[in-house]
């Protein structure tokens, strides 16, 4: 049996790096330290019936094809399109993302990540008002107040609280849990709320009003007896905790970014955190879902200057969220081919966008079968990043970690990066008149 230590879990933005994986005869026996979600990801390596061969849609359904043929088809699709969309990128390593960006530039397409359906509003808010943040080790060593807003880590980031916030002992928090207070703000009493010291149940869609109430009180104003379904005294006492803590953290999730108001919610929440710095130390971290959605915005930003929704149709990067982002481009029928890498838009895009996707030429690189692999004209299975392929991922606090390879991919499978490199090469061949 092989024992791999310090393995990185390629599942959620918590990006735990202490997993011990036991492998025997190409099977994962155990993934120690991983949570339920992480464990399931490692164990899924043992599933049989994994696709090895690219599949292309013909007159009578899907038929198998070779990797060379698949690469050529994707390359032709991208070259023939006027404005192709290259979408996804949250569940692959930075090295593959980097090739993806070069490909988008080469074909004059639009490249975008799932940020536009999860934390895009956070990025827009950051670009409006800024981003007071810290790394998660700061939280562990210093924080005595953690607020989870619109985020349910017990389910979505199960080890977040045990590694960084609620439970661990830190340099200035030697007693661990006893030294810390947790507030949960959510539309329903989640499991996370169940272990919080204080729970504020905000009425659905009223997050903006609640942030406003906090800011108004903080800046010396007054508020009605009840705001967003919460009594004034509860708002005031939560605010008192924020003002008087030594080091406060706001973790926010899609409950806040995707509730009505979207980036205005985050604008306002960031402003609240900025205001709180007049009283004490306060910071925030978005609870990014997919393990490397953060890495994609980093790579795209240092290469192009912009974090998502970058349009290369004019030969230089253009960024205009709402115009150069996937959901809008698809819903308005403005792209004429779609190439998906490591994402499942068919499952989580609005209906109108999916309908257009179904109409235009499309291809996907994806290790598993998903609604998107059925929807696209062509799918190329790939090796699994972070388990069969090593490479860089960025944690939700932007800390870069190198994911390890712990087993070989089944023969015949290539990594996302290798497939993308083949496509890029082919695109250049075609453009050069081959």
């Amino acid at each position: 049996m092989e024992i791999h230590t310090d393995v990185i879990c390629p599942f959620c933005g918590t990006l735990c790096d202490d997993i011990e994986v036991h492998v025997e005869n190409g099977r994962v026996m155990e993934a120690l330290n991983a949570c339920k979600l992480g464990n399931a990801k490692f164990m899924s390596m043992n599933k049989k019936n994994r696709h090895i061969v690219p599949m292309v849609r013909g007159e009578d359904g899907f038929t198998e094809t070779t990797i060379e043929d698949a690469v050529e088809r994707v390359a032709r699709m991208l070259v023939d399109a006027k404005k192709p969309l290259l979408y996804g990128w949250a569940t692959t390593e930075c090295e593959a993302q980097s090739v993806g960006i070069e490909l988008a530039e080469e074909v004059g397409g639009v490249i975008d990540s799932c940020a536009s359906v999860c934390h895009g509003p956070s990025v827009l808010a950051i670009q409006d008002v800024g981003f007071p943040s810290v790394t998660l080790g700061e939280v562990k060593n210093r924080a005595d107040l953690d607020i989870y807003w619109g985020s349910n880590p017990m389910h979505a980031h199960p080890r977040h609280m045990s590694r960084y916030s609620r439970y661990p002992r830190g340099y200035f928090r030697e007693r661990g849990q006893q030294d810390r207070t947790v507030i949960v703000i959510d539309v329903r009493r989640t499991d996370t709320a169940g272990i919080a010291d204080k729970f504020l149940q905000v009425s659905p869609g009223d997050d903006y009003e609640l942030v406003n109430a906090f800011r108004t009180l903080l800046n010396g104003g007054d508020i009605p007896d009840e705001v967003a379904g919460i009594a004034k005294k509860d708002i005031a006492s939560a605010l008192e905790l924020m003002k008087t803590c030594q080091f406060g953290m706001l973790f926010f999730g899609v409950g806040l970014t995707m509730s009505p108001g979207k980036h205005r919610n985050i604008d306002n929440a960031i402003s609240l955190v900025v205001d709180l710095n007049k009283y004490t130390k306060f910071n925030l971290i978005p609870m990014r879902g997919h393990y490397n959605v953060t890495g994609f915005s980093e790579v795209l930003t240092w290469q192009s200057g912009f974090p998502f929704g970058v349009d290369y149709t004019r030969g230089y990067p253009q960024y205009n969220p709402g115009e150069t982002t996937s959901v809008e481009l698809l819903s308005r029928g403005e792209v004429d081919a779609v190439f998906v890498v490591g994402s499942d838009p068919a499952a989580n895009f609005p209906k109108k966008a999916v309908e257009h996707l179904a109409k235009i030429p499309s291809a996907v690189i994806e290790p598993h079968e998903t609604p998107t692999t059925y929807l696209c004209d062509l799918n190329i299975p790939s090796a699994i990043a972070g388990i069969e392929v090593e490479g860089t991922a960025y944690r939700m606090d932007n800390v870069p970690i190198r994911m390890r390879k712990i087993m070989d991919a089944p023969a015949g499978l290539y990594s996302d990066r290798e497939i993308l490199e083949m496509i890029l090469l082919k695109v250049r061949e075609i453009k050069n008149g081959a």
């Binding site: 230590t5 310090d6 990185i8 790096d17 930075c94 980097s98 070069e102 530039e105 990025v123 950051i126 670009q127 409006d128 008002v129 800024g130 981003f131 007071p132 943040s133 810290v134 790394t135 998660l136 080790g137 700061e138 562990k140 060593n141 210093r142 590694r163 960084y164 002992r169 830190g170 340099y171 200035f172 030594q246 080091f247 900025v274 710095n277 004490t280 130390k281 910071n283 915005s297 980093e298 930003t301 240092w302 290469q303 192009s304 200057g305 912009f306 974090p307 290369y312 030969g315 230089y316 990067p317 253009q318 960024y319 860089t392 960025y394 932007n398 800390v399 870069p400 970690i401 190198r402």
Partner: protein, 569 residues
């Protein structure tokens, strides 16, 4: 591959060549005495020939650099660079994106760039990004200002383990230089506090900024690192900070240099030369710093010129960035890094109409003109903090022309600059040789890399910049516009003997080297120190020790500088 550069007017101060007509020969990437066979010839008659430029302090790549780009799409939209001639596209006025930064530096004749504030935990990011900066050789300076191991060994009075530990961090981060930013202040910023005097306590660690600076300066020499400590003192940008600056430099006076160079490098000196006690009576104290530096041999600084542009400030000085944000109320990014440091970012609009900004503009130039030896005061804008590096040609023109400066004084900037500084009284004008010092030779020497960089003697890298300026025709004092234009784009940039830029256009984009220092201390000591590191890591970092060091894959063309420091035991 062989190349002959014929008949150029050569300025190579490290070899005492001052404007002589001279041929430069390159074989296999190095300057040689003789060529062997068939070779390309560049006719450089009537052109200025200098060693490739060396950037000693520019935030062109790294974690906060990318956070700065992300913060400001308006800066990206302001200047775009289309994909053409096989080059990658990009964007950014004050903060060009990675490929573009490499191209722009090469077009100005630079062949080495160093990114000066790398939080160790983000080293992997820095090196990933450096891999996407083409052409130039490069390195990164890891920050040690708030390093918990450093502070712990200082407090315990264990200089040996301290040295071993610093060596370990350089190795783990693939860093070249010990960088210190607002010593102690960045740790205190973990509680929203700062350190404003060199004897202020660091909360929870029982040490002072003075101990951090002095301790690391001594370690630096015991490890015989190529460069000295690279220092951004406390109180950056505060009226009256000159006192702190001089006090801090004084700490390193008695430190013995291991490599016959300075023992402290003061970066962006402009931001540390303020007098007055508020913005109302704010004034330049460049004269005071210059007097100090003229008198001693242990300090080299760079100017940190302000170019009066709209820019994006980014430093590892979190409390300072917050202070700035409170002045301007512009958007603000904070990025505290566990056990290490605390970067911050905020946009800043320098205005010609603002008296304070105008004095700052004057201070950067005053320092260059008041410090006698140009090897002690190098040209840099702390890109992008004082202004983008693309403004270097204009700064060169200011330094070479009193009338150009006077024109700015009288017509362009706020009159406050005349009252608040001595610039109007300075008639010194830099020579081409002085310019060669403050843009390449001085940098290479201060970095301890002058065997390979910053000169055109036999054995040096074949890095050459050829500018379309004919010293026999151009009088820089009068033709300052020609100087500014001439230094903006080279006629040729040659890197390792390869023609990279011709007539301002990029022709090749090779991958540059990444230099890093590996001082090897006594094995036993190393082991003992690592035991402490292991213990601390488990308890306080949020990543495992095994996942912390930068893997070799991240250096596309790494160059290890191994140093025998086994006498440290």
């Amino acid at each position: 591959m062989e190349l002959e550069i014929k008949n150029g007017v050569v300025f190579d101060p490290l070899n005492k060549v001052d404007g002589e007509k001279k041929d430069i020969l390159i074989r296999d990437g190095r300057i040689v005495e003789k060529l062997k066979g068939k070779h390309d010839v560049i006719d450089a008659s009537g052109k200025l020939v200098m060693p490739g430029g060396v950037e000693i302090h520019s935030h062109f790549a790294g974690g906060k650099e990318t956070a700065g780009r992300m913060l400001r799409p308006e800066d990206g939209a302001r200047t775009v660079y289309p994909k053409r001639n096989g080059l990658r596209s990009g964007s950014g006025y004050s903060m060009p994106s990675s490929f573009t930064a490499g191209y722009l530096y090469a077009q100005m004749g630079y062949t080495m760039c160093n990114t000066p504030a790398m939080p160790p935990l983000f080293a992997r990011h820095t090196h990933e990004e450096l891999g996407d900066v083409p052409i130039v050789d490069k390195s990164a300076y890891p920050t040690f200002d708030g390093n918990w191991f450093v502070m712990r060994y200082l407090k315990e009075g264990d200089p040996d383990k301290l040295a071993a530990c610093v060596a370990w961090f350089l190795r783990a981060t693939k860093g070249l230089v010990i960088k210190i930013v607002n010593p102690g202040g960045t740790e205190n910023w973990g509680w929203g506090k700062n350190a404003v005097g060199i004897d202020d306590p660091v909360i929870g660690f029982d040490v002072t900024p003075a101990q951090i600076v002095k301790g690391l300066a001594e370690v630096n020499e015991r490890l015989k690192l190529p460069h000295s400590i690279h220092l951004h003192p406390n109180n950056l940008g505060k009226p009256g900070n000159i006192e702190t600056t001089v006090e801090t430099l004084e700490l390193c006076r008695e430190v013995k240099s291991a490599n016959a160079r300075q023992t402290v490098y003061l970066t962006h000196a402009q931001f540390h030369s303020f007098g007055g006690d508020s913005w109302k009576n704010f004034e330049s104290k460049a004269d005071e710093l210059a007097k100090y530096i003229n008198r001693c041999d242990h300090v080299v600084c760079d100017t940190g010129n302000v170019t009066l542009d709209e820019t994006t400030t980014m430093t590892s000085d979190g409390p300072m960035e917050y202070f700035l944000h409170n002045l301007t109320h512009l958007k603000w990014v904070n990025k505290d890094v566990e056990l290490e440091t605390a970067p911050g970012i905020t946009p800043f609009i320098y205005s010609r109409k603002n008296p304070v900004h105008s004095v700052q503009w004057a201070i950067g130039l005053e320092l260059a003109l008041l410090i006698d030896d140009p090897f002690k005061v190098l040209l840099a804008t702390d890109h992008p903090n004082g202004g983008p590096f693309t403004r270097y040609p204009r700064i060169i023109a200011w330094l070479m022309s009193e009338p150009y400066r006077r024109y700015y004084m009288e017509e362009r900037v706020h009159k406050g600059a005349q009252k608040g500084s001595s610039l109007a009284t300075l008639d010194r004008e830099y020579t081409f040789s002085d310019i060669a010092v403050v843009t390449r030779a001085g940098q290479a020497k201060a970095l301890g890399l002058s065997e390979l960089k910053g000169h055109l003697g036999v054995g040096a890298h074949g890095d050459v910049a050829i500018y379309d300026i004919d010293p026999a025709q151009v009088d820089p004092s009068k033709d300052f516009k020609a100087v500014e234009k001439g230094f903006a784009k080279t006629a040729y940039t040659i890197k390792d003997g390869e023609i990279i830029v011709k007539d301002g256009l990029i022709r090749a984009t090779p991958q540059g080297r990444t230099y890093w220092a590996n001082p090897v201390v006594d094995h036993e000591l190393d082991r003992e120190m690592l035991k402490d590191v292991e213990q601390y890591f488990k308890k306080y970092y949020s990543v495992n020790l095994a996942n912390y060091p930068v893997q070799k894959e991240y250096l596309k063309r790494g160059r290890e500088i191994q140093i025998d420091a086994r006498d440290v035991k």
